[in-house]
Protein backbone atom coordinates (compact mmCIF):
# COMPACT_ATOMS: atom_id res chain seq x y z
CA UNK A 1 0.00 0.00 0.00
CA UNK A 2 1.20 3.48 -0.87
CA UNK A 3 -0.20 6.20 1.36
CA UNK A 4 -0.56 9.58 -0.34
CA UNK A 5 -3.17 11.23 1.88
CA UNK A 6 -0.87 13.04 4.27
CA UNK A 7 -2.73 16.34 3.97
CA UNK A 8 -5.61 14.60 5.76
CA UNK A 9 -3.56 12.71 8.35
CA UNK A 10 0.09 11.75 8.06
CA UNK A 11 1.03 8.08 7.93
CA UNK A 12 3.22 6.43 8.96
CA UNK A 13 4.38 8.27 12.05
CA UNK A 14 8.10 8.26 12.84
CA UNK A 15 9.15 5.39 15.14
CA UNK A 16 10.33 7.98 17.65
CA UNK A 17 6.80 9.41 17.91
CA UNK A 18 5.30 5.96 18.43
CA UNK A 19 7.85 5.02 21.09
CA UNK A 20 7.72 8.25 23.08
CA UNK A 21 3.93 8.58 22.88
CA UNK A 22 3.55 4.97 23.98
CA UNK A 23 5.79 5.62 26.99
CA UNK A 24 3.75 8.71 27.82
CA UNK A 25 0.46 6.79 27.75
CA UNK A 26 1.82 3.99 29.92
CA UNK A 27 3.58 6.33 32.37
CA UNK A 28 2.28 8.20 35.39
CA UNK A 29 0.36 11.28 34.19
CA UNK A 30 2.27 14.54 34.45
CA UNK A 31 1.01 17.59 36.27
CA UNK A 32 -1.56 19.84 34.67
CA UNK A 33 -2.20 21.83 37.85
CA UNK A 34 -4.38 18.93 38.90
CA UNK A 35 -2.33 16.91 41.34
CA UNK A 36 -0.39 14.84 38.82
CA UNK A 37 3.02 13.49 39.73
CA UNK A 38 5.69 16.15 39.61
CA UNK A 39 8.38 13.64 38.71
CA UNK A 40 6.42 12.27 35.74
CA UNK A 41 8.56 12.01 32.63
CA UNK A 42 6.20 13.99 30.39
CA UNK A 43 4.31 17.18 31.08
CA UNK A 44 2.38 19.80 29.18
CA UNK A 45 4.69 22.68 29.98
CA UNK A 46 7.76 21.10 28.41
CA UNK A 47 5.63 20.36 25.32
CA UNK A 48 4.51 23.99 25.30
CA UNK A 49 8.13 25.15 25.34
CA UNK A 50 8.99 22.80 22.47
CA UNK A 51 5.99 23.98 20.44
CA UNK A 52 7.06 27.62 20.90
CA UNK A 53 10.68 26.82 20.04
CA UNK A 54 9.64 24.94 16.90
CA UNK A 55 7.68 27.94 15.62
CA UNK A 56 10.34 30.38 16.84
CA UNK A 57 7.84 32.32 18.97
CA UNK A 58 9.23 31.72 22.47
CA UNK A 59 8.47 34.73 24.67
CA UNK A 60 6.44 36.46 21.94
CA UNK A 61 2.96 35.49 23.09
CA UNK A 62 0.85 32.58 24.25
CA UNK A 63 1.07 29.01 22.96
CA UNK A 64 -2.20 27.23 23.67
CA UNK A 65 -3.03 23.53 23.30
CA UNK A 66 -6.24 22.62 21.51
CA UNK A 67 -7.75 19.43 20.06
CA UNK A 68 -6.76 20.59 16.59
CA UNK A 69 -6.87 23.36 14.03
CA UNK A 70 -10.66 23.49 13.86
CA UNK A 71 -10.97 24.36 17.53
CA UNK A 72 -7.98 26.70 17.28
CA UNK A 73 -9.61 28.59 14.42
CA UNK A 74 -12.98 28.71 16.15
CA UNK A 75 -11.26 30.04 19.28
CA UNK A 76 -9.43 32.75 17.37
CA UNK A 77 -12.39 33.70 15.15
CA UNK A 78 -15.02 33.83 17.90
CA UNK A 79 -12.54 35.22 20.41
CA UNK A 80 -10.78 37.95 18.43
CA UNK A 81 -13.50 39.17 16.09
CA UNK A 82 -15.98 41.53 17.67
CA UNK A 83 -19.48 42.53 16.58
CA UNK A 84 -19.49 45.24 13.95
CA UNK A 85 -16.16 44.29 12.47
CA UNK A 86 -15.58 43.71 8.77
CA UNK A 87 -13.64 40.53 8.09
CA UNK A 88 -11.83 39.53 4.92
CA UNK A 89 -11.07 35.95 4.04
CA UNK A 90 -10.37 33.97 0.87
CA UNK A 91 -11.89 31.33 -1.38
CA UNK A 92 -8.99 29.04 -0.51
CA UNK A 93 -10.16 28.53 3.08
CA UNK A 94 -11.22 25.32 4.73
CA UNK A 95 -14.68 25.04 6.27
CA UNK A 96 -13.05 25.38 9.69
CA UNK A 97 -12.63 29.05 8.74
CA UNK A 98 -15.63 29.57 6.46
CA UNK A 99 -18.31 28.06 8.68
CA UNK A 100 -17.47 30.09 11.84
CA UNK A 101 -17.34 33.23 9.71
CA UNK A 102 -20.63 32.42 7.97
CA UNK A 103 -22.17 31.90 11.41
CA UNK A 104 -21.07 35.36 12.54
CA UNK A 105 -22.26 36.83 9.25
CA UNK A 106 -25.64 35.05 9.40
CA UNK A 107 -26.17 36.40 12.91
CA UNK A 108 -25.59 39.89 11.53
CA UNK A 109 -22.52 40.38 13.70
CA UNK A 110 -19.88 40.95 11.04
CA UNK A 111 -19.43 42.05 7.46
CA UNK A 112 -17.64 39.41 5.40
CA UNK A 113 -15.71 39.74 2.18
CA UNK A 114 -14.27 36.71 0.43
CA UNK A 115 -11.49 37.40 -2.04
CA UNK A 116 -10.56 35.20 -4.98
CA UNK A 117 -7.49 33.35 -6.15
CA UNK A 118 -5.69 32.58 -9.39
CA UNK A 119 -5.70 29.22 -11.17
CA UNK A 120 -2.99 27.93 -8.82
CA UNK A 121 -4.82 28.94 -5.65
CA UNK A 122 -2.72 32.01 -4.80
CA UNK A 123 -4.94 34.70 -3.39
CA UNK A 124 -5.61 38.00 -5.10
CA UNK A 125 -3.33 40.34 -3.16
CA UNK A 126 -4.78 43.42 -4.86
CA UNK A 127 -8.27 42.40 -3.69
CA UNK A 128 -6.92 41.98 -0.16
CA UNK A 129 -5.38 45.45 -0.34
CA UNK A 130 -8.70 46.85 -1.52
CA UNK A 131 -10.66 45.09 1.22
CA UNK A 132 -8.30 46.44 3.85
CA UNK A 133 -8.56 49.95 2.42
CA UNK A 134 -12.35 49.62 2.53
CA UNK A 135 -12.36 49.00 6.25
CA UNK A 136 -11.65 45.33 7.01
CA UNK A 137 -10.35 45.01 10.52
CA UNK A 138 -9.45 41.31 10.58
CA UNK A 139 -8.11 38.97 7.90
CA UNK A 140 -8.30 35.17 8.15
CA UNK A 141 -6.08 33.52 5.57
CA UNK A 142 -4.56 30.09 5.13
CA UNK A 143 -0.83 29.63 4.74
CA UNK A 144 -1.08 26.70 2.33
CA UNK A 145 -4.12 25.62 0.30
CA UNK A 146 -5.21 22.07 1.06
CA UNK A 147 -6.39 21.71 -2.55
CA UNK A 148 -3.60 23.11 -4.74
CA UNK A 149 -0.77 23.41 -2.22
CA UNK A 150 -0.42 27.12 -3.02
CA UNK A 151 1.80 28.78 -0.42
CA UNK A 152 0.48 32.26 0.22
CA UNK A 153 2.76 35.27 0.38
CA UNK A 154 2.47 35.80 4.12
CA UNK A 155 5.11 38.54 4.16
CA UNK A 156 3.13 40.55 1.61
CA UNK A 157 -0.15 39.84 3.39
CA UNK A 158 1.34 41.00 6.69
CA UNK A 159 2.60 44.22 5.09
CA UNK A 160 -0.87 45.03 3.77
CA UNK A 161 -2.65 44.13 6.99
CA UNK A 162 -0.30 45.64 9.53
CA UNK A 163 0.09 48.92 7.63
CA UNK A 164 -3.62 49.47 8.28
CA UNK A 165 -3.76 47.94 11.74
CA UNK A 166 -5.66 44.86 10.57
CA UNK A 167 -5.48 41.75 12.77
CA UNK A 168 -4.25 38.68 10.95
CA UNK A 169 -5.21 35.09 11.73
CA UNK A 170 -3.27 32.45 9.78
CA UNK A 171 -4.46 28.88 9.28
CA UNK A 172 -1.20 26.94 9.31
CA UNK A 173 -2.83 23.49 9.17
CA UNK A 174 -1.20 22.50 5.89
CA UNK A 175 2.08 24.36 6.22
CA UNK A 176 3.60 22.92 9.42
CA UNK A 177 6.17 20.31 8.49
CA UNK A 178 5.80 21.00 4.77
CA UNK A 179 7.09 24.53 4.15
CA UNK A 180 9.27 27.01 6.07
CA UNK A 181 7.46 28.75 8.92
CA UNK A 182 9.81 31.75 9.08
CA UNK A 183 7.02 34.20 8.34
CA UNK A 184 5.19 33.14 11.50
CA UNK A 185 8.22 33.30 13.78
CA UNK A 186 8.16 37.05 14.41
CA UNK A 187 5.09 36.43 16.56
CA UNK A 188 3.07 39.24 15.04
CA UNK A 189 0.06 37.27 13.84
CA UNK A 190 -2.19 34.71 15.47
CA UNK A 191 -2.02 31.27 13.95
CA UNK A 192 -3.70 27.89 14.25
CA UNK A 193 -2.19 24.49 13.60
CA UNK A 194 -2.97 20.82 13.92
CA UNK A 195 -0.76 18.03 15.19
CA UNK A 196 -1.81 15.05 13.08
CA UNK A 197 -0.73 16.21 9.63
CA UNK A 198 2.81 17.45 8.89
CA UNK A 199 3.84 17.40 12.53
CA UNK A 200 3.31 13.61 12.80
CA UNK A 201 1.29 13.72 16.02
CA UNK A 202 -1.94 12.05 17.03
CA UNK A 203 -5.38 13.07 15.81
CA UNK A 204 -7.04 15.36 18.36
CA UNK A 205 -3.92 17.41 19.02
CA UNK A 206 -2.96 20.89 17.95
CA UNK A 207 -2.69 24.42 19.13
CA UNK A 208 -2.78 28.11 18.51
CA UNK A 209 -0.47 31.03 19.02
CA UNK A 210 -1.76 34.36 20.24
CA UNK A 211 0.66 37.29 19.95
CA UNK A 212 1.51 39.13 23.16
CA UNK A 213 -0.89 41.93 23.92
CA UNK A 214 -3.69 40.57 21.72
CA UNK A 215 -7.06 39.86 23.26
CA UNK A 216 -9.01 36.67 22.66
CA UNK A 217 -12.14 35.71 24.56
CA UNK A 218 -12.32 32.11 25.75
CA UNK A 219 -14.22 29.76 23.47
CA UNK A 220 -14.52 26.96 26.03
CA UNK A 221 -15.15 27.54 29.74
CA UNK A 222 -14.29 25.21 32.61
CA UNK A 223 -11.65 24.02 35.01
CA UNK A 224 -8.07 25.13 34.62
CA UNK A 225 -6.57 23.67 37.79
CA UNK A 226 -5.74 27.19 38.91
CA UNK A 227 -7.72 30.07 40.43
CA UNK A 228 -10.68 27.78 40.95
CA UNK A 229 -12.20 30.46 43.19
CA UNK A 230 -12.91 32.71 40.17
CA UNK A 231 -16.34 32.76 38.54
CA UNK A 232 -14.82 33.05 35.06
CA UNK A 233 -11.71 31.88 33.30
CA UNK A 234 -8.42 33.21 34.64
CA UNK A 235 -7.30 36.12 32.49
CA UNK A 236 -3.81 34.78 31.90
CA UNK A 237 -2.71 32.59 29.02
CA UNK A 238 -2.66 29.69 28.55
CA UNK A 239 -5.29 28.99 31.25
CA UNK A 240 -7.67 31.54 29.73
CA UNK A 241 -8.01 29.45 26.57
CA UNK A 242 -7.36 25.96 27.98
CA UNK A 243 -10.33 24.72 29.98
CA UNK A 244 -10.37 21.02 30.82
CA UNK A 245 -7.61 18.48 31.15
CA UNK A 246 -5.35 18.64 28.15
CA UNK A 247 -4.44 15.84 25.76
CA UNK A 248 -0.98 15.05 27.15
CA UNK A 249 -0.24 12.06 24.88
CA UNK A 250 -1.32 14.20 21.94
CA UNK A 251 0.90 17.09 22.97
CA UNK A 252 3.83 14.71 23.55
CA UNK A 253 3.27 13.13 20.14
CA UNK A 254 3.35 16.52 18.42
CA UNK A 255 6.37 17.75 20.38
CA UNK A 256 8.18 14.52 19.49
CA UNK A 257 7.14 14.92 15.86
CA UNK A 258 8.67 18.40 15.94
CA UNK A 259 11.85 16.96 17.48
CA UNK A 260 11.96 14.33 14.73
CA UNK A 261 11.49 16.95 12.01
CA UNK A 262 14.26 19.07 13.50
CA UNK A 263 16.63 16.11 13.77
CA UNK A 264 15.94 15.01 10.20
CA UNK A 265 16.39 18.58 9.01
CA UNK A 266 13.47 20.73 7.92
CA UNK A 267 15.22 21.79 4.72
CA UNK A 268 15.79 18.16 3.76
CA UNK A 269 12.11 17.34 4.34
CA UNK A 270 10.88 20.38 2.41
CA UNK A 271 13.27 19.65 -0.42
CA UNK A 272 12.12 16.01 -0.62
CA UNK A 273 8.50 17.18 -0.82
CA UNK A 274 9.32 19.67 -3.57
CA UNK A 275 11.21 17.04 -5.57
CA UNK A 276 8.32 14.59 -5.31
CA UNK A 277 5.82 17.24 -6.41
CA UNK A 278 7.95 18.25 -9.37
CA UNK A 279 8.50 14.64 -10.40
CA UNK A 280 4.75 14.02 -10.16
CA UNK A 281 3.94 17.09 -12.27
CA UNK A 282 6.48 15.98 -14.85
CA UNK A 283 4.93 12.50 -14.96
CA UNK A 284 1.35 13.80 -15.01
CA UNK A 285 2.11 16.08 -17.94
CA UNK A 286 2.43 12.88 -19.99
CA UNK A 287 -0.92 11.46 -18.87
CA UNK A 288 -3.66 12.13 -21.38
CA UNK A 289 -7.12 13.28 -20.28
CA UNK A 290 -5.77 14.50 -16.95
CA UNK A 291 -6.31 18.01 -15.63
CA UNK A 292 -4.13 19.36 -12.82
CA UNK A 293 -5.32 22.18 -10.56
CA UNK A 294 -2.26 24.33 -9.92
CA UNK A 295 0.37 22.83 -12.16
CA UNK A 296 3.07 25.45 -11.78
CA UNK A 297 6.36 24.39 -10.22
CA UNK A 298 8.39 26.25 -7.63
CA UNK A 299 8.61 26.96 -3.96
CA UNK A 300 5.31 28.78 -3.74
CA UNK A 301 3.63 25.38 -3.74
CA UNK A 302 3.67 22.77 -1.03
CA UNK A 303 3.98 19.04 -1.65
CA UNK A 304 0.47 18.21 -2.78
CA UNK A 305 -1.29 18.02 -6.16
CA UNK A 306 -4.96 17.75 -7.13
CA UNK A 307 -6.29 16.52 -10.46
CA UNK A 308 -9.09 14.81 -12.35
CA UNK A 309 -9.19 12.35 -15.24
CA UNK A 310 -11.90 12.65 -17.89
CA UNK A 311 -14.41 9.82 -17.74
CA UNK A 312 -13.99 9.17 -14.03
CA UNK A 313 -15.56 10.99 -11.15
CA UNK A 314 -13.05 11.94 -8.46
CA UNK A 315 -14.67 9.41 -6.16
CA UNK A 316 -14.35 6.61 -8.71
CA UNK A 317 -10.75 7.54 -9.48
CA UNK A 318 -9.76 7.47 -5.80
CA UNK A 319 -11.63 4.17 -5.41
CA UNK A 320 -9.77 2.66 -8.36
CA UNK A 321 -6.41 3.94 -7.13
CA UNK A 322 -7.01 2.42 -3.72
CA UNK A 323 -8.66 -0.85 -4.66
CA UNK A 324 -7.09 -1.67 -8.02
CA UNK A 325 -3.61 -0.26 -7.43
CA UNK A 326 -3.21 0.01 -3.64
CA UNK A 327 -2.66 3.78 -3.61
CA UNK A 328 -4.48 5.84 -0.98
CA UNK A 329 -5.49 9.35 -2.07
CA UNK A 330 -8.37 11.64 -1.16
CA UNK A 331 -11.32 12.55 -3.38
CA UNK A 332 -13.98 15.20 -2.97
CA UNK A 333 -14.19 18.85 -2.04
CA UNK A 334 -11.64 18.53 0.79
CA UNK A 335 -13.85 20.68 3.07
CA UNK A 336 -12.84 23.66 0.94
CA UNK A 337 -15.82 24.18 -1.38
CA UNK A 338 -15.05 27.70 -2.58
CA UNK A 339 -11.67 26.95 -4.12
CA UNK A 340 -13.14 23.95 -5.93
CA UNK A 341 -15.80 26.27 -7.32
CA UNK A 342 -13.14 28.82 -8.29
CA UNK A 343 -11.06 26.17 -10.03
CA UNK A 344 -14.15 24.60 -11.62
CA UNK A 345 -13.30 21.09 -10.53
CA UNK A 346 -16.99 20.10 -10.72
CA UNK A 347 -19.53 18.97 -8.14
CA UNK A 348 -17.53 15.87 -7.29
CA UNK A 349 -14.33 17.81 -6.58
CA UNK A 350 -10.93 16.35 -7.40
CA UNK A 351 -8.44 13.71 -6.34
CA UNK A 352 -5.66 14.98 -4.10
CA UNK A 353 -2.26 13.41 -3.64
CA UNK A 354 -0.24 14.66 -0.66
CA UNK A 355 3.22 13.61 0.42
CA UNK A 356 5.15 13.24 3.65
CA UNK A 357 8.80 12.71 4.50
CA UNK A 358 8.22 8.97 4.15
CA UNK A 359 7.24 9.05 0.49
CA UNK A 360 9.72 8.25 -2.24
CA UNK A 361 10.25 8.70 -5.96
CA UNK A 362 9.16 5.12 -6.54
CA UNK A 363 5.79 5.96 -4.90
CA UNK A 364 5.37 8.77 -7.43
CA UNK A 365 6.35 6.57 -10.35
CA UNK A 366 3.89 3.86 -9.29
CA UNK A 367 1.13 6.44 -9.00
CA UNK A 368 1.96 7.86 -12.41
CA UNK A 369 1.93 4.39 -13.95
CA UNK A 370 -1.47 3.70 -12.38
CA UNK A 371 -2.84 7.00 -13.66
CA UNK A 372 -1.53 6.34 -17.16
CA UNK A 373 -3.26 2.97 -17.04
CA UNK A 374 -6.54 4.52 -15.89
CA UNK A 375 -6.43 7.43 -18.34
CA UNK A 376 -5.83 5.19 -21.32
CA UNK A 377 -8.25 2.46 -20.30
CA UNK A 378 -11.45 1.65 -22.07
CA UNK A 379 -14.29 -0.05 -20.30
CA UNK A 380 -15.62 -3.29 -21.64
CA UNK A 381 -19.37 -2.94 -21.79
Amino acid sequence: MIYLNNAATSYPKPDLVLEVTGRCISGVPGQQNRGGVASAQYDMESCRRRFAEFFGVSGKGGMVFTPGATQSLNTLIFGMIKPGMKVVTTVTEHNSVLRPLYRLQDEGLIGLEIIGCDSGGHIDIDALYQAVKEGASTAVINHVSNVTGAVQNIAGIKDICFESGVELIIDASQSCGHVPLDELSDGTCAFAFTGHKGLFGLQGSGGLFLPGGKDCRPFIYGGTGSRSDLRGQPDQLPAKLEAGTGNLPGAVSVATGMDWISSEGQEKIFSNGQSLRELLLQELSRVKNLRIYGSETGKNFSDLVSFNINGFTADDLAFVLENSFGIITRAGLHCAPLIHKALETGPDGAVRVSFSAFNTESNVLELAEALRNVASSEALK
Binding site: F319, V320, S324, G326, N373, V374, A379, L380, K381
Partner: protein
Protein backbone atom coordinates in the same frame (compact mmCIF):
# COMPACT_ATOMS: atom_id res chain seq x y z
CA UNK B 1 -21.77 -16.70 -4.08
CA UNK B 2 -24.05 -14.26 -2.31
CA UNK B 3 -24.11 -11.02 -0.40
CA UNK B 4 -23.68 -11.78 3.29
CA UNK B 5 -24.39 -8.34 4.69
CA UNK B 6 -23.61 -4.66 4.59
CA UNK B 7 -22.48 -1.76 6.72
CA UNK B 8 -23.25 1.92 6.29
CA UNK B 9 -20.20 3.99 5.36
CA UNK B 10 -21.68 7.41 4.77
CA UNK B 11 -24.93 9.33 4.83
CA UNK B 12 -24.39 11.88 2.08
CA UNK B 13 -25.63 15.45 1.91
CA UNK B 14 -27.46 14.78 -1.37
CA UNK B 15 -29.67 12.19 0.28
CA UNK B 16 -27.78 9.16 -0.99
CA UNK B 17 -26.35 6.45 1.24
CA UNK B 18 -23.05 4.66 0.82
CA UNK B 19 -22.69 1.08 2.00
CA UNK B 20 -20.02 -1.57 1.95
CA UNK B 21 -21.34 -4.94 0.86
CA UNK B 22 -19.70 -8.15 2.05
CA UNK B 23 -19.66 -11.11 -0.34
CA UNK B 24 -19.44 -14.72 0.77
CA UNK B 25 -16.30 -15.12 -1.38
CA UNK B 26 -14.08 -12.97 -3.61
CA UNK B 27 -16.06 -11.89 -6.65
CA UNK B 28 -15.05 -13.58 -9.91
CA UNK B 29 -15.16 -12.31 -13.46
CA UNK B 30 -18.16 -14.56 -14.11
CA UNK B 31 -20.14 -13.02 -11.24
CA UNK B 32 -19.18 -9.53 -12.40
CA UNK B 33 -20.42 -10.38 -15.88
CA UNK B 34 -23.70 -11.55 -14.36
CA UNK B 35 -24.33 -8.02 -13.05
CA UNK B 36 -24.87 -6.87 -16.62
CA UNK B 37 -28.42 -8.22 -16.54
CA UNK B 38 -29.52 -5.55 -14.09
CA UNK B 39 -28.00 -2.36 -15.47
CA UNK B 40 -25.13 -0.71 -17.29
CA UNK B 41 -21.90 -2.51 -16.46
CA UNK B 42 -18.42 -1.13 -17.08
CA UNK B 43 -15.44 -3.46 -16.60
CA UNK B 44 -11.84 -2.24 -16.72
CA UNK B 45 -9.79 -5.35 -17.28
CA UNK B 46 -6.42 -3.63 -17.70
CA UNK B 47 -6.10 -2.52 -14.08
CA UNK B 48 -3.89 -4.44 -11.67
CA UNK B 49 -7.12 -5.60 -10.06
CA UNK B 50 -9.90 -5.21 -12.64
CA UNK B 51 -12.50 -2.62 -11.67
CA UNK B 52 -16.24 -2.89 -12.28
CA UNK B 53 -19.00 -0.34 -11.99
CA UNK B 54 -22.67 -1.12 -12.30
CA UNK B 55 -25.09 1.76 -12.81
CA UNK B 56 -28.81 1.15 -12.50
CA UNK B 57 -30.61 4.25 -13.74
CA UNK B 58 -30.35 7.17 -11.37
CA UNK B 59 -30.91 4.98 -8.35
CA UNK B 60 -27.95 2.71 -7.76
CA UNK B 61 -24.20 2.47 -8.34
CA UNK B 62 -22.18 -0.56 -7.36
CA UNK B 63 -18.42 -0.61 -7.71
CA UNK B 64 -15.63 -2.91 -6.75
CA UNK B 65 -12.64 -4.86 -7.95
CA UNK B 66 -12.34 -8.45 -9.07
CA UNK B 67 -11.23 -10.94 -6.41
CA UNK B 68 -12.38 -8.66 -3.59
CA UNK B 69 -14.89 -9.81 -0.98
CA UNK B 70 -16.37 -6.34 -0.60
CA UNK B 71 -17.94 -3.72 -2.87
CA UNK B 72 -19.21 -0.19 -2.48
CA UNK B 73 -22.87 0.54 -3.03
CA UNK B 74 -24.21 4.04 -3.53
CA UNK B 75 -27.95 4.09 -3.14
CA UNK B 76 -29.58 7.27 -4.35
CA UNK B 77 -33.09 5.85 -4.05
CA UNK B 78 -34.65 2.54 -3.16
CA UNK B 79 -34.30 -0.20 -0.59
CA UNK B 80 -30.96 -1.86 0.08
CA UNK B 81 -32.52 -5.17 1.07
CA UNK B 82 -34.38 -5.38 -2.24
CA UNK B 83 -31.19 -4.65 -4.16
CA UNK B 84 -29.24 -7.29 -2.23
CA UNK B 85 -31.97 -9.80 -3.02
CA UNK B 86 -31.65 -8.85 -6.69
CA UNK B 87 -27.87 -9.32 -6.56
CA UNK B 88 -28.18 -12.71 -4.92
CA UNK B 89 -30.46 -13.87 -7.71
CA UNK B 90 -27.93 -12.68 -10.29
CA UNK B 91 -25.08 -14.47 -8.51
CA UNK B 92 -26.91 -17.82 -8.36
Amino acid sequence: MKVLGYRKLEDCFDGSMIYELSYSMPITGICIKALEASGELEYYSSFTKPFYRLVIGDDIQLKGVEESSTARLILFRGCIDAFIEQLNVLFE
